[in-house]
Symmetry: C2
Subunit: 135 residues, 2 copies
Amino acid sequence: MAIKRPASAGRGTGASAKGGATDGLDPVLGVVARYFGVLAEPTRLKILHAICDDEQSVSAIVAATGTTQSNVSRHLSLMLNAGIVERRRDGCAVYYRIADPEFVDICRRMCERIASRLDMQAPLRRDLMGFAARH
Amino acid sequence: MAIKRPASAGRGTGASAKGGATDGLDPVLGVVARYFGVLAEPTRLKILHAICDDEQSVSAIVAATGTTQSNVSRHLSLMLNAGIVERRRDGCAVYYRIADPEFVDICRRMCERIASRLDMQAPLRRDLMGFAARH
DNA sequence: GCCGAGCATGCGCATATGCTCATATTCAAA
DNA sequence: TTTGAATATGAGCATATGCGCATGCTCGGC
């Protein structure tokens, strides 16, 4: 993914789509797509899930997600760059927290929407609704 | 991406995360991630943008997006499978439309959120807000 | 039945992305 | 300062994914 820090994002003058209304749409969609891309990884969602109530240290997140510390740090850096999480240092531990609840809310809505499209008795549906309700 | 048609999604018994509360979270996050993945492509967002007002034929979408017909068809198939768009055949033309406005709304909210994080004078911000307002 | 327009799909390539291993860096305690 | 714990990062690998090309399929008109 790799999202440039918010502030600008290089509005290239190229690629304005042969046919469509040539507003500055392409760069916009590119940025939006990259943000969706950040949410398009199970591990990252798991990390967000782990820190969406309170901030957590990296090691706590590692324990919660069951993946490598290396991996967790990488995903956290990426989300930090995207401005989705924030960082706080305490001693030699580093705590991460959600930077913007809206992103969690978008996840919640996505869950609800997917759940509503599943068969009522599908087991996944229950899990999705439970997940959505918790956030 | 490739999302299984809604109805079930194979709730594997494996991989329950070493540490965390072992609810059926992993399959849930996997599914949610895949849906976000569908929205994580500029071309697909462009297609959604093209059909979010009225249904459009494939060739119209090709013209609007400025990409290959092959490419458009592929993305449309993917989104059809994900249940994000719907298909209607009229003669030898095929029309696609948004299946669930909620997905467009999620895009809109993402746009707004990203725009709000950009500097007020960043040109991208204007485009994002404009894009969000139109949906 | 034949043909052309419109759409879908198999194949191969180039790139992007996530994961793991090993190592560097940062901080606190001794 | 030295040491060890906690976190971050570089390198390499395996896979996933988007794109273009060529081809197959479907439908209406002739």
